[in-house]
């Protein structure tokens, strides 16, 4: 009950430090951008920046759902497969002169919701470790993708469906607006709703959440279903961008999405994480990929550099949780 607990030695240096640790991940991004701008003049052109944001939009959108899952101490390895299945289902209903756009969208998102709910069922009701449940579903959903598409890409879409991935509005790709919308929606859910509070509580201490009368099962079901839907959204966008619904789509995207979340400060032990962090994490990955391409770094070395920088970013960001 003493005052020992609060005794800053130096107010200024303390607040600077607090600021730096709180926003360290932003500084890493800024630093990376600065270095790349210096090394490659093409980097900072608006058209390239737009390009980067569009490229990361898929993994960021997947990452938003995954972030919520990781906050509840879970993980989702099935995202990449859900991308494929949802893309295929939506593609099947996107041929000209068959159904209105809404049908493709609703079925695509619906199948993602269902896939997510299956994950949620295993994790929240059957109480399997999320890693193994979603690993199993990663295999199963991918198989379903092959079965539904019979191994072949599905092509030939309506103009409206094509517009999702290739359209522009007010000079910006539609995909960027979708990214923005998904980010705002996810942010609001996590930060400003009861569900968001429950998600953090479950991740912070599941037993305490139960005792506090929080419906853990219901909230976990929500989180996994939401993440499934976000993956499906990415799947629809990807199939439209490529003009093709493919059973191989989204392979290993789950790892990029998880990396984005973790680089962005989401803790794999749960209870901690933000949507804006994940967005920054995805941007760091995107900026890296793009920058290395612009600098014509040999592809073999790109992997080494990317791996090292991911580790470095997390090291620099570690101060935050200290």
């Amino acid at each position: 009950m003493s005052e020992v607990a609060v005794k800053p030695n130096n107010d200024l240096s303390k607040s600077v430090k607090a600021f730096l640790t709180k926003y360290s991940i932003y500084f890493i991004l800024v630093l990376l951008v600065a270095i790349l701008t210096f090394l490659s003049p093409a980097f900072l052109k608006p058209v390239n920046l737009i390009n980067i944001v569009r490229q990361i939009s898929l993994i960021a959108i997947v990452g938003f759902g995954v972030t919520m899952i990781i906050i509840t101490t879970g993980i989702d390895l099935s995202s990449g497969s859900v991308i494929a299945v949802a893309g295929i289902v939506a593609s099947k209903f996107a041929h000209p002169d068959t159904y209105p756009l809404a049908v493709a969208l609703i079925l695509g998102l619906g199948v993602g919701l269902l896939a997510g709910a299956i994950n949620g069922f295993f994790v929240s009701i059957v109480k399997l470790p999320a890693f193994i449940a979603t690993l199993g579903m990663m295999l199963s959903f991918r198989g379903v993708g092959y079965i539904l598409s019979e191994g072949h890409p599905i092509t030939n879409f309506t103009k409206e469906y094509d517009f999702i991935g290739s359209g522009y509005w007010l000079g910006l790709p539609l995909m960027i607006y979708i990214l923005f919308g998904a980010a705002v929606l996810s942010y609001v859910i996590l930060r400003h709703t009861k569900t968001g509070k429950c998600i953090y509580a479950i991740g912070g201490n599941q037993q305490a959440a139960v005792v506090s009368g929080i419906n853990v099962k219901k909230n976990l079901m929500f989180v996994y279903s939401y993440a499934g839907m976000m993956s499906a959204l990415a799947g629809i966008m990807l199939s439209s961008r490529l003009s093709s619904g493919q059973p191989t789509a989204g392979l290993t995207y789950e790892m990029d999405a998880i990396s984005s979340a973790v680089i962005g400060g989401t803790s794999l032990s749960g209870g901690i994480g933000t949507i804006q962090g994940t967005l920054i994490g995805a941007l760091i990955i995107g900026v890296l990929n793009n920058g290395m391409d612009l600098m014509h770094i040999n592809a073999y070395y790109q992997q080494v550099v990317k791996g090292s920088i991911i580790v470095l970013a997390v090291i620099l960001d570690k101060a935050r949780n200290r």
């Binding site: 009950m1 003493s2 005052e3 020992v4 607990a5 609060v6 005794k7 800053p8 303390k14 609001v188 400003h192 709703t193 009861k194 569900t195 968001g196 509070k197 429950c198 953090y200 509580a201 912070g204 201490n205 037993q207 305490a208 959440a209 139960v210 005792v211 506090s212 009368g213 929080i214 419906n215 803790s267 209870g271 901690i272 200290r322």
Partner: protein, 498 residues
């Protein structure tokens, strides 16, 4: 001084980011004596001992062990110097056996590599028997109760054959009977010349076992005195730095009609035919020894673990409580005994902890949280309970134990429940905070609420309760009114000797 100190810690300072935990603190311990280390929550007792145990380095200061200046950079160095420690936080490894836990890091080896399991088990058996602890060393730690785990930790600390044993709140999870047993063990140790540094918030224990007392406040050394020179009040005022008049400030409230009736509640293997009644404005004490099943009854009452049979009536109406949210709807609140395990969200802010059980009350438009009202109400709670924290955004893990307990209380008070179950509400809490929590209980019953208080501290039960029921091995063995209750009566119910 007639005899040489075995250990002197002088002028020790230590700071954590933003916190000066120790400012020139120290302690001088004689061979073969029990030296109590006292102080409020956050005074720096554990930190001082962690420095001695090699867990944390000091920023400055000296440690003199048997006349030699030493410094330990790891627990193994400290252990090598014959200093062992029972930690405040339980440090058992759930899926290893009792024997493996005890001899962890110093297993009997064949050829320097292979562990001789049977040797280890034999040694553990011998050790536990010698200490009078009836636990099979081959079973896994996870199968023990918290109290049994604490006994194993005590046995482990003793098994190092150390010259100095640090006991940081060794009795936080065990009850009077085991405490008596611990006293015996300590007396045997001191007879052999072992020095014991004993940290506890329970004054009774200090007067029972300690030879000398050192008091710390705000990370600083206050004073050291022989126990004979001290009264309770002396220690308290040294710790708190002011006079603390009311220890158990019992508020007299008129007891009203029954609000909760429990009839023949049974859960197989845990408790049997539990029946009791709680009245409006009443504080009902629930006493018993370790493992009596008190917590279990409350868990079933609160819908966390289903009972097999029995009936519960609230305000005369039968209710069917199957989950914590059912319990909340029926006006129950449950402040659980282990605030870290089942109470708090340690990585989260004070604010998020306080609102966690009453989220619905802040929801606007069906889904959104009304941040403004959250902030306002949390600030109110902070003031009301005098929670010591710079802001309500502070992470709970950075608060001291007492303040954490208050956050937990705030969470449940916010649900505005009529029936408040407090399970060991002052465990590990210093006297100052304790009396504040007791005062608060008085406030609660004054406003017409009712309280069930489980406590393993008989003075607390006796001081606070209007009526006391006692459990023994899953059965209700007695009921006494405030007037008739004495330590002896309660103990005989609790041990089943009546």
């Amino acid at each position: 001084m007639e005899e040489q100190y075995i250990l002197e810690m002088v002028d020790i300072s230590k700071s954590f980011p933003g916190v000066q935990a120790l400012k020139g603190a120290g302690i001088k311990v004689r061979k073969g004596s029990v030296h109590a280390l006292m102080g409020e929550n956050g005074a720096g007792k554990s930190t001082l001992m962690k420095i001695l145990g090699g867990l944390q380095p000091a920023d400055s200061g000296k440690i003199i062990l048997k006349g030699q200046e030493v410094s330990f950079s790891s627990p193994s160095e400290s252990l090598k110097n014959k200093i062992s420690m029972i930690h405040q936080e339980l440090t058992s490894i759930p899926h290893m056996t009792v024997a493996e836990n005890i001899y962890l890091g110093r297993e009997p080896l064949a050829g320097k590599v292979f562990v001789k399991d049977s040797d280890q088990n034999a040694r553990a058996t011998e050790l536990l028997q010698g200490l009078g602890i009836q636990i099979d060393p081959k079973i896994k730690m996870v199968r023990l109760s918290i109290a049994q785990m604490q006994l194993i930790e005590i046995a482990k600390a003793i098994s190092y054959n150390s010259e100095i044993i640090i006991m940081d709140e060794p009795t936080s999870a065990i009850t009077e009977r085991e405490v008596e047993h611990l006293y015996t063990m300590i007396r045997n140790l001191t007879k052999k010349g072992v020095a014991v540094i004993y940290i506890s918030h329970k004054l009774n224990e200090i007067f029972n076992i300690a030879d000398e007392v050192t008091v710390m406040r705000d990370g600083e050394y206050v004073n050291t005195k022989k126990i004979e020179e001290l009264t309770r009040q002396d220690i308290i005022s040294m710790m708190v730095g002011r006079e603390l008049t009311h220890m158990f400030p019992k508020v007299e409230v008129e007891i009203g009609e029954p609000v909760l009736e429990v009839k023949n509640l049974t859960r197989a293997g845990k408790f049997n035919n539990i029946s009791f009644t709680l009245h409006k404005g009443e504080i009902l004490g629930l006493a018993g020894l370790m493992g009596a099943g008190r917590t279990e009854v409350m868990e079933s009452l609160f819908g966390l673990v289903p009972a097999n049979s029995g009936e519960v009536l609230i305000k005369g109406k039968p209710v069917n409580i199957k989950s914590a949210s059912d319990a909340k709807k029926n006006g129950l609140a449950f402040i659980t005994e282990d605030r870290k395990l089942t109470g708090l969200f340690l990585p989260h802010s004070v604010k998020d902890n306080i609102i966690a059980a009453s989220l619905d009350r802040f929801v606007v438009g069906g889904i959104f949280m009304n941040e403004k009202s959250v902030n306002g109400i949390c600030e109110d709670q902070k003031k009301l309970l005098r929670i010591k924290t710079p802001t309500i955004e502070q992470k709970v893990k950075n608060l001291s134990g007492g303040n954490q307990q208050k956050v937990l209380l705030a969470k449940w008070l916010l649900t505005d429940a009529d029936i408040i179950i407090l399970d060991e509400p002052t465990r590990g809490i210093d006297v100052g905070a304790k009396s504040e929590i007791h005062a608060l209980m008085g406030e609660l019953v004054k406003t017409g609420k009712s309280v069930i208080m489980i406590s393993s501290e008989l003075p607390e039960i006796l001081g606070m309760s209007d009526r006391i029921i006692v459990m023994h091995e899953g059965k209700l063995t007695g009921e006494v009114s405030r007037q008739d209750a004495t330590q002896d009566v309660l103990m005989s119910f609790a041990t089943g000797t009546i």
